[in-house]
């Protein structure tokens, strides 16, 4: 278990960078990674030679991609670990970088997430089921998994498809304000509900796109951070968990793993959900966002549709969620998403988020889940503060 946080060093993020997310068949994965890493280094204002270690998350780019990413920008001869944890890969890289500094092992390092689906062996295909996965062989896939959640949710909690579509309306609106977003197009509830069915009741425009992109963050101690910036963003909590067996999962419309992980993060940060001003959460499908409001403690079960429809989670509301456009609009480059969320939160806390800026944001939360097999493979929650 996590305890005795006071013995750890406080860790700050002093630089973040991201590529625009989208489809880039002309760019190799390491080129995307290098672009993001370089942007983070420039943002931090450090010489690249200062980096003592790196974690690089990736799923489909091949062996030792982190070496190619950093080798392309003059960073070699350091401890470098490549990470895979499905969609949670980027957040996992960030967490390990946090720990290497919190523990005193190193003073400054970089976490990178990079994915290029377009140039990968699975381009234009579904992510195939793991070998030996019985449900996958019998016709399960990632969309179907959440379509089953959504069907159960709509039928047992009396929620309409229009309510769920409103998540996609909100996040696509936000995406229009974000220069990093894959999509910049307003959508209507009607367009979303009437788009092509993928796995009923999930239609195309309730799904995140397949995306290429990369993001990076430079981490150091709070003390060293003062040398480089007047606005260090502190990592107040980092939590990562694997899922539990599905047979222990009582209600598929409530993710126990996200709930537990969030509680662990709140305890570590010494704050509660009511203190969060801005949140990036895992909206791979529109319905996910509503479920996660509850699991992250933003409201009680049964109040989540109200939270959305009352505008609490839109830009200008009390707790804007996925101000970046989220995975739905900004895009979902698998292993890069966890770090891209962190870049967004850092920009929000520093007041650098442009047209999508959340007013006076002091505390931000990032949440991402990934992989199948158990309830889900992994979940990560990070809490950042000024």
């Amino acid at each position: 278990m996590v305890r005795e946080y006071e013995k750890m060093r406080e860790v700050a993020i002093i630089g973040v960078g991201s590529t625009v997310l989208g489809k880039f068949p002309e760019k190799l994965p390491y080129q995307l990674g290098a672009e993001a890493a370089k942007a983070a280094i420039v943002d931090a204002g450090i010489p690249p030679g200062k980096l003592q270690f790196a974690y690089c998350a990736n799923l489909y780019g091949g062996m030792v991609i982190g070496q190619a990413v950093l080798g392309g920008i003059g960073v070699t001869d350091i401890e470098l670990i490549n990470v895979e944890n499905a969609c949670t890969g980027g957040a996992t890289a960030l967490r390990k970088a946090w720990w290497d500094i919190a523990s005193g092992l190193y003073d400054i390092g970089i976490a990178i997430g990079v994915e290029s689906i377009t140039t990968s062996p699975i381009a234009g295909q579904l992510i195939p089921p793991a070998r030996g996965d019985i449900t996958g062989e019998l016709g399960m896939n990632m969309v179907a998994k959440f379509a089953l959640t959504q069907r159960r949710y709509m039928d047992t909690y009396n929620v309409s498809l229009e309510d769920i579509a409103q998540v996609s309306v909100k996040n696509h609106h936000n995406g229009c304000l974000n220069p990093y977003s894959q999509y910049k197009k307003e959508l209507t509830i009607e367009e979303i509900v009437n788009s092509r069915p993928i796995c009923e009741p999930i239609t195309l425009l309730q799904c995140c796109p397949s995306s290429d992109g990369a993001a990076a963050a430079i981490l150091t101690t709070r003390d060293i951070a003062k040398k480089y910036t007047s606005k260090p963003v502190i990592i107040a909590a980092s939590a990562l968990k694997s899922g539990d067996y599905s047979f222990r999962w009582e209600d598929i419309t409530f993710s126990d793993m996200t709930h537990k992980c969030a509680n662990q993060a709140y305890e570590m940060a010494g704050i509660g959900p009511e203190d969060v001003n801005v949140c990036e959460l895992h909206d791979a499908f529109a319905v996910n966002e509503l479920m996660h409001y509850v699991e992250l403690g933003f409201c009680k079960k049964g109040e989540e549709v109200r939270l959305l429809l009352d505008g609490v989670t839109e830009l200008g509301g009390r707790l804007p969620v996925n101000a970046s456009g989220g995975l739905l609009s900004k895009g979902h480059p698998v292993s890069a998403s966890g770090v891209a969320q962190i870049a967004e939160i850092v920009w929000q806390l520093r007041g650098q988020a442009g047209d999508r800026q959340v007013n006076k944001a002091k505390v931000g939360l990032a949440h991402v889940i990934g992989g199948d097999g158990l309830e889900s493979g992994a979940v990560a929650v990070h809490i950042l503060k000024m």
């Binding site: 016709g139 089953l148 069907r151 047979f247």
Partner: protein
């Protein structure tokens, strides 16, 4: 006639479309596991007894899939069927064009062809709406 082979060994026994799903029950904590395992995944107890699962259950959730799959041509239906034992089985669902699916409806187990592999017919468990599909 093609030889019938199960899509996976040890999950069920059947002949001519009739059969049972083979699970295991932990003698220590009572957890029922499907597919059966060497140890109880709930309490790690090692004393498990084979158990035959119920033939009928309720539709916990379902979806009509419009995406391609390795073995199935869209649209096809899948879902979770909750058995009286308190566990949920993931399964292909047939008969949904005839009897529209509804969360909570009664479902019955059958064994049917899933797909063909060369000269073999691969069979597995399927759930269909019970009776005329109106039982809830």
């Amino acid at each position: 006639m093609k030889a019938r082979v199960p899509f996976r060994e040890g999950l069920f026994k059947e002949s001519d479309g009739k059969g049972v799903l083979l699970g295991a029950k932990c003698k220590h904590c009572g957890q029922i596991i499907f597919p059966k395992a060497e140890v109880c995944l709930n309490c790690l107890g090692q004393d498990l007894e084979p158990t035959e699962l119920s033939q009928n259950g309720k539709l916990y959730s379902y979806t009509i899939v419009h995406m391609p799959s390795e073995h199935f041509t869209p649209p096809y239906a899948i879902g979770w069927i909750e058995l009286p034992e308190g566990i949920r089985i993931f399964s292909q669902i047939r008969g949904w064009q005839e009897y529209p699916l509804k969360t909570g409806m009664n479902m019955s187990l059958t064994f049917e062809r899933l797909w063909d592999e060369e000269d073999k017919e691969v069979t597995g468990y399927i759930f269909r709406p019970s009776g005329n599909g109106e039982g809830v």
